[in-house]
């Protein structure tokens, strides 16, 4: 176990270096000059331009800039935003809970609905319910997310007026963030209706972000269940006279969950990608929206720092999924 942990963490080092390089290069490969963008419409004198360029260190060769960036990263310094002058890490930590909250809710939706849907489709294999569930999953998987989001906004928010269109909570409520998670903070604030408002704001973004993982989890659960249901030990379970619920829900599902867990873990990386779009559409003040805005402003340190942090988080999550795999599959004991 310890050995495996060391090996896996060791493997993360080259990946990490690669991520710093990619995040550094990515933003510089985009056309557009951060200093000019900062100046806005009015432009600036050439002398001032040169001075700013020098101040940010952009007049030096790339390799020097990269080494300096890497040196900073190793010391835990990701630089600061050009626009706000706030350290990148600090901005990240402020916004991150919003993304985590949204992602967790989306993942919760995907598992809570996806797993039972997959199980039901598997035990009703080849019948209408199976085709219906899997057809819906396929549609969910292939649907363009922005279109889906707009349709939901138009129908649910616009026509039915059931949910707000954007943000995390109604402007009527204001309180200092404690945990950064709106659901928890709104409860802690003790303000009447705050929690309800937070929930309402979460619904549509959760559905939009959770749709693809939901489809993936449902399909994966179904195929894992189909495989497991044909196993000898399922027959043994039935031979014991157990109820069908116990045979499927305990003996079969426990085994089917092994591959499903891996899928869910891998979906977390996908989720961050999806969050960028979802947060932008719903003006959700999280990492995704922050990254998009920073790319538009060519806020170099924010983009490279943000990308790096996301990469690290995905790596850590994947590591945790691997370790979890050992817990959930008794055949693997490190």
């Amino acid at each position: 176990m310890i050995k495996l942990l060391f090996r896996r963490v060791g493997l993360m080092i080259p990946t990490f270096i690669g991520a710093t390089l990619l995040s550094f290069l990515f933003i510089r490969m985009l056309p557009g000059d951060p200093v000019l963008l900062m100046a806005g419409e009015r432009g600036m004198t050439d002398e001032r331009y040169q001075r700013l360029l020098h101040e940010f260190g952009f007049d030096r060769p790339y390799w020097q800039q990269y080494l300096e960036y890497l040196w900073g990263v190793l010391q835990g310094d990701l630089g600061e935003s050009f626009r706000t002058k706030v350290p990148v890490l600090q901005e990240f930590l402020t916004l991150f809970p919003a993304t985590v909250e949204l992602s967790l809710c989306a993942m919760l939706l995907a598992t809570v609905i996806g797993i039972p849907a997959g199980v039901i489709a598997a035990i009703r294999r080849g019948r209408a319910l199976d085709h219906g569930t899997m057809g819906t999953a396929l549609v969910g998987y292939s649907m363009p997310i922005f279109w889906w989001a707009l349709m939901l906004i138009i129908v649910v928010s616009g026509q039915w007026g059931l949910t707000p269109v954007s943000g995390r909570i109604s402007l009527l409520y204001f309180f200092e963030p404690v945990t950064g998670f709106m659901l928890i903070d709104s409860l802690l604030s003790g303000q009447e209706g705050a929690f309800g408002s937070a929930v309402q704001h979460l619904i549509l973004p959760t559905i939009v972000l959770g749709t693809i993982p939901l489809a993936v989890v449902a399909r994966q659960t179904r195929s894992a269940m189909l495989e497991v249901l044909g196993e000898d030990y399922v027959r043994t379970a039935r031979a014991k006279g157990l109820s069908p619920f116990r045979v499927v829900g305990i003996h079969a599902l426990r085994n089917a969950l092994i591959p499903v867990t891996t899928t869910i873990g891998l979906q977390i990386g996908v989720l961050f990608g999806g969050a960028i779009l979802t947060e932008t559409i719903f003006a959700w003040p999280g990492i995704g929206k922050w990254m998009i805005e920073s790319v538009s402003a060519r806020d170099y340190s924010v983009v490279q720092g943000g990308l790096l942090l996301i990469a690290v988080i995905v790596m850590v999550v994947n590591l945790m999924v691997d370790l979890m795999y050992g817990l959930i599959n008794p055949k693997i004991r490190y």
């Binding site: 014991k240 006279g241 055949k331």
Partner: protein, 336 residues
């Protein structure tokens, strides 16, 4: 009174190529505490007929029977829910592949106590104590420690012992052992077989032993039912069967036993059990039968009387010789 009565059991599978009759009119009766063997090559429908009895066949199977009675209960008319109260309790089954028959995700202890909990209830502690007792009974060393083991940590023989422990947990009246030793090492096979015989004696349960090994039958059973291509072709007391097999198939199985071989080479039975497509029109065994004549290829076999071991044969053997063809008249019919 007999414990189990099966009359005219037929199982058909719905397959992509059409209906396939895996079990064809099998009848069987087992007394309380009796040891019955079912023999036949693989593909003879031995497993399917017992799985049908247990209600473990997939939905593609259609089961029909004139009578299916266990311990005075009519299984044909019984609901699935009521059946579950019987199987795993009064009627239990163990399978051929011990390595895959136990759930890899649960400990041995969980899988044994689960059977107890389902049918007998009782407190956690009593179930645990009974599980230890069962593991002792099936001869697993260090039972307390084994309770926490996962199946992949045990050998095939040990897993089969665990399977047996699960099956006998609720003191069944009938244990069906479907080729319980086929997947095991030769040295372990005898141990497991001895264990089953021993347990049958101790617990006083009836045992149906499915095997394709006539040698095993000779050592163990009281009565034998021989199955071929889904049909029961002969049934006799073991001693009588070995002395005077009436069906040519039984005879062929017996002469394939090493200790019965005459000469150096072991006689083998050519061909395989017919499947969905090569099912003969007449007697199902005719294409492989050493004694087949015209009629056998044309007309389905008929069942002989008790004196001929209920052999499903036009010319049952007596002392290795086909009964004279009183069938001359039958032959005449065929010729005409």
């Amino acid at each position: 009174m007999s414990l189990l009565e099966i009359e005219n059991l037929t199982v058909e599978f719905q397959t992509a190529q059409g209906q396939f009759r895996a079990v064809d009119g099998v009848s069987l009766s087992v007394d309380q505490g009796e040891l019955m063997a079912i023999v036949g090559e693989s593909g003879s429908g031995k497993s399917v007929s017992m799985l049908a009895l247990m209600g473990l066949l997939p939905w593609t199977a259609t089961i029909t029977a004139d009578r299916l009675e266990f311990d005075g209960i009519d299984l044909v008319r019984q609901s699935a829910r009521d059946r579950r109260k019987v199987i795993g309790k009064d009627m239990a089954m163990i399978f051929q592949e011990p390595m895959t028959s136990l759930n890899p995700c649960f400990t041995v202890g969980f899988q044994i106590t689960e059977a107890l909990k389902t049918h007998l209830g009782g407190s956690r502690a009593t179930r645990r104590a009974r599980a230890v007792e069962l593991l002792n009974l099936v001869g697993l060393p260090e039972p307390e420690r084994r309770l926490n083991a996962f199946p992949h940590q045990l050998s095939g023989g040990m897993n089969q012992r665990v399977m047996i422990a699960i099956a006998i947990a609720c003191r069944p009246k009938l244990l069906i052992a479907d080729e319980p030793t086929t997947a095991l090492d030769v040295t372990i096979q005898a141990q497991i077989l001895d264990l089953l015989l021993d347990l049958r004696e101790k617990e006083g349960m009836a045992l149906i032993l499915i095997t394709h090994d006539m040698g095993v039958v000779a050592e163990t059973a009281e009565r034998v039912s021989v199955q071929y291509a889904g049909q029961k072709v002969e049934e006799q007391k073991v001693r009588d069967l070995f002395r005077d097999p009436h069906h040519p198939y039984t005879s062929a199985l017996l002469s394939a036993l090493p200790e019965r071989a005459q000469g150096k080479k072991l006689p083998t039975l050519p061909g395989v059990v017919p499947g969905l497509f090569d099912r003969p029109e007449g007697c199902l065994f005719a294409p492989r039968c050493a004694h087949a004549f015209d009629l056998c290829h044309k007309r389905q076999a008929v069942q002989a009387g008790a004196e001929d071991g209920f052999a499903l044969c036009h010319t049952p053997l007596r002392k290795g010789v086909p009964t004279s063809l009183e069938g001359a008249s039958l032959e005449g019919q065929v010729r005409s």
